[in-house]
């Protein structure tokens, strides 16, 4: 069981990282698109960010220095990431379960990080520090499981009971929520009822890092960890990878108000795409697979009938 647990955790983590990197590369390699920003854009200067204004509110805006505010972006990002602000504002009914669920996931990550810190601390750090760390990851760990389970069950209930959500809920959506409930439930139950001589969370992490197979992992707890590892590996291949997508949708679509300047990088990147050869079939486009995008855009399908 111990070896199976270790292998599944390493494999799960590896697939999660690879899958996430693949997603990132997939989106990062798509061409620069035409501007499609949406206001408010929080990196706008001063009062503008508050009322949703842009640099277009200034006369001769191109002659003024542009100073996007990273602090402004953080002010928008932190409440969104930590507290799901958009859901709170626009869909309060769903926020409660969703916040519990996402909060539980954040605390799961926090718990794992705290466990790593606890095993990385040298013995000289002293018993008090370790005591408080132990207390802290216990609190975050139990809270993580409780919040994730309550959140997942709340979301599942909404998906099954609310006709507005039900019409758009696929079998996979239900499976995903069940998957979380079973994996977290099994980890929690297995941990709580583990045999006395089996490893706890910190011992497991320590042994995992050293690949120490002499440590005994309880069956229930081990099964929970294996299932959780499979869940981790599965996430990047589903729409649950929206934690990756949000970087692109916010920073490279909604908030991307960078103006094109003569001789700049945007101009040169777009120039490459203007040389692409589309194959759209409608007559007025005039594409034949040979003409470039730029040639099509400078043609006039109505010109031949112009007097």
């Amino acid at each position: 069981m111990t070896v199976a647990v270790y292998l599944s955790i390493y494999a799960g983590l590896l697939v999660f990282i690879l899958g996430s990197v693949l997603r990132i590369v997939q989106y990062a390699r798509t061409p620069i698109h035409l501007r499609w920003e949406l206001y408010p854009v929080p990196h706008e200067e001063g009062r503008r960010a508050e009322h949703g204004g842009s640099y277009f509110e200034s006369g001769n805006w191109w002659a003024r220095p542009r100073r996007p505010s990273r602090i402004g972006e953080l002010r928008a990002m932190i409440p969104e990431i930590a507290f799901l602000k958009a859901l709170w504002e626009f869909n309060r009914g769903l926020w409660y379960a969703s916040f519990l669920f996402h909060g539980g996931l954040y605390l799961t990550v926090a718990t794992v990080l705290l466990l790593f810190v606890s095993i990385a601390l040298p013995g000289a750090a002293g018993g008090t520090t370790l005591f408080w760390l132990h207390a802290l990851y216990n609190v975050t760990g139990y809270a993580a499981v409780a919040m994730t389970l309550m959140g997942a069950m709340g979301l599942l209930f909404r998906r099954l009971a609310d006709p507005e959500l039900k019409n758009y809920t696929s079998p996979a959506d239900l499976f995903n929520l069940h998957f979380f409930i079973v994996a977290y439930g099994l980890v929690a139950a297995g941990y709580l009822v583990r045999p006395e001589n089996s490893a706890g969370a910190a011992e497991c992490i320590r042994a995992l890092v050293r690949f120490d197979t002499s440590v005994r992992v309880g069956r229930g707890f081990g099964a929970g960890l294996i299932l959780s590892s499979i869940l981790l590996a599965y996430i990047p291949f589903t729409h649950m990878a929206h934690f990756i997508a949000k970087y692109f949708t916010y920073h490279l679509v909604r908030w991307d108000d960078r103006p094109n300047v003569r001789g700049g990088t945007i101009e040169s990147r777009v120039a490459g795409h203007l040389a692409r050869r589309p194959t759209w079939s409608a007559a007025h486009i005039g594409a034949d697979g040979e003409k470039t995008w730029a040639q099509l855009a400078t043609a006039n399908p109505a010109a031949e009938v112009r007097k």
Partner: protein, 535 residues
């Protein structure tokens, strides 16, 4: 019917409409439109139209797609659609929007947050057909099945879909039941964009299948590229009209007005929506008066498309969009102007200032600015004297989505209204959280069959509610009220809606542009520039 529409109904093949809308189902309106008896009945779609055109979506028909003659033609059209679908997800064909489209396809969690933001969904009485995700979900399922080739796993993961002609025909119409205002995208926690989905569907139909609303294509971008303006006006006609407008303005204001044409090296090239010249001549006249009095060195252009800022390609076709945008920039380059200033037209603003920005490289990258910003700077500069008492009547401001949520021009117009209009009051919500007038994405100029009934009763209903609430303290006919809309298309939609509900006749709500209020308050202008007459 509402809330009972399963998504699988979208590909049923009986050809019958998926939903039927009753006035009683719609979102209630405040006084004086709170009495259902005063509500107008819908003109039913004629039997002839139903027989001739695909009308299997709802009670109306926007695009007038002819019904295929036989199954072979249906199969050919479905194959065309599938070819277009594949192209939509390739960089060679759709580099312009591929990234946001992929993100929207792959990460919607179906949380329905967008639905709460959509004015069409709300105004329809939460009719399932108009839920923003309904349309997107169909494209998403097609994407996973036919582009990602997900097979059975795709059906399990993303839901079933069956591609047939009835589905394609419904998608064509459904892509024209969204104003592309992107209020839904603003509220999406993930950043998915259902407005973009409608845009991309329209693009697929136009660029691959040659299918688009005729008002946008044949009578829109094609006519503009042919004669210079979607109004059909040639340069000679426009110049004649502007001469007449200059004359009329001079007489009405007591100040000599002259519009300069094709002035090389001018500081400002002013691009108007040519619809203003035809329907609201006082608007270009007021611009000419203000720019002359402020001492701005400006010009208009008589080149092809240079006297019409519209760019309908923005709503349905990237190539047509680029063609018009490049023409506008080329005209400015030839004239060697310092900057292009857009008149009161929201989509022209967004088209040339924002969306075309990355297409305008090298010498075509000429600075573009909003007229609202320029006007604010003129008004605040003290170069012209104003008497706000001349504008002492209730005024509310409509925020055109293209100018505000999609371009961030929020405050300049408000600074002017706060200074020149003592009775200015906001609609709620306003600014970047505004609601579309219901005419966005081309609807304002689309009047086929009974589409206007849908446009006024459903798409424009939320705006009507906002207008009536903004004037609720003075709704009676004894107080003339001014609904300011600094956008030609919005103005057209508001004019048609106010007429539809007889709100000028019964309640004295007049609509108009922004620049007219500035001229009306100018001390040097003869009093009474605003005539309070219905146009």
């Amino acid at each position: 019917m509402k809330n009972t529409l399963d998504i699988a109904q979208a590909w049923r093949s009986d050809g019958e409409p998926l939903v039927h809308i009753e006035n009683a189902d719609l979102m209630p309106l405040p006084a004086p439109l709170d009495n259902l008896a005063m509500d107008r009945p819908w003109k039913p779609l004629s039997a002839q139209a139903k027989e001739k055109y695909e009308s299997g979506l709802d009670d109306t028909c926007a695009v007038s797609v002819p019904r295929p003659k036989n199954e072979d033609e249906e199969r050919r059209l479905v194959a065309q659609f599938l070819a277009g679908l594949e192209k939509l997800f390739t960089a060679d064909n759709n580099w312009t929007f591929l990234q946001p489209l992929l993100l929207t396809m792959e990460h919607c969690t179906h949380c329905q947050t967008c639905a709460e933001s959509c004015h069409i969904f709300e105004a329809s009485g939460r009719n399932e057909l108009y839920r923003p995700v309904f349309r997107s979900e169909l494209l998403r399922r097609l994407y996973f099945k036919y582009i990602k080739h997900g097979g059975l796993v795709s059906a399990w993961q993303h839901g079933e879909i069956e591609l047939n002609w009835p589905l394609v025909a419904r998608l064509i119409e459904l892509s024209y039941r969204c104003n592309l205002c992107r209020r839904c995208a603003q509220s999406c926690p993930i950043g998915a964009d259902n407005g973009l989905v409608a845009h991309e569907l329209r693009k697929l139909f136009s660029q691959e299948m040659g299918i688009a609303a005729k008002e946008l294509h044949e009578q829109g971008s094609m006519l503009q590229l042919k004669v210079g303006s979607s109004t059909g006006m040639t340069a000679e006609v426009v110049k004649d009209n502007i001469d007449f407008i200059d004359e009329d303005m001079s007489e009405r204001t007591g100040i000599e007005v002259h519009t300069p044409w094709d002035v090389e090296g001018a500081e400002v090239l002013l691009l108007h929506n040519a619809g203003e010249i035809m329907a609201w001549p006082e608007n270009p006249g007021a611009f000419a008066l203000i720019l002359n009095m402020a001492g701005v060195n400006w010009t208009m252009s008589s080149e092809l498309a240079g006297y019409d800022s519209i760019n309908y390609g923005l709503w349905y076709d990237d190539v047509q969009f680029a063609r018009v945008a490049l023409k506008h920039a080329e005209i400015a380059r030839k004239l060697k102007v310092k900057k292009i200033v857009l008149g009161e037209c929201g989509h022209a603003h967004k088209a040339l200032c924002v969306v075309a920005d990355r297409l305008l490289g090298g010498e075509l990258n000429i600075p573009r600015e909003s007229s609202l910003t320029l006007l604010r700077d003129i008004v605040m500069s003290g170069r012209i004297q104003f008497d706000p008492a001349r504008n002492d009547f209730p005024v509310t401001l409509h925020d055109p989505c293209n100018l505000v949520r999609l371009m961030g021009v929020v405050e300049p117009q408000r600074e002017v209204l706060r200074m020149l209009c003592p009775g200015f009051r906001e609609m709620e919500p306003h600014g970047v959280n505004n609601y579309c007038c219901g005419g966005g994405s081309g609807f304002a100029i689309m009047s086929g069959h009974n589409f206007p009934d849908w446009r006024f009763q459903v798409a424009g209903r939320k705006k009507m509610q906002q207008v009536l609430e903004a004037f609720s303290d003075c709704i009676g006919p004894e107080t003339p009220k001014y609904l300011c809309a600094p956008c030609s298309n919005c103005k057209g939609q508001l004019r048609d809606m106010l007429a539809y509900y007889k709100l000028w006749e019964r309640n004295r709500i007049l609509y108009g542009g922004f620049v007219e209020l500035i001229v009306n308050a100018m001390v040097d202008v003869k009093p009474g520039f605003l005539e309070w007459e219905w146009r």
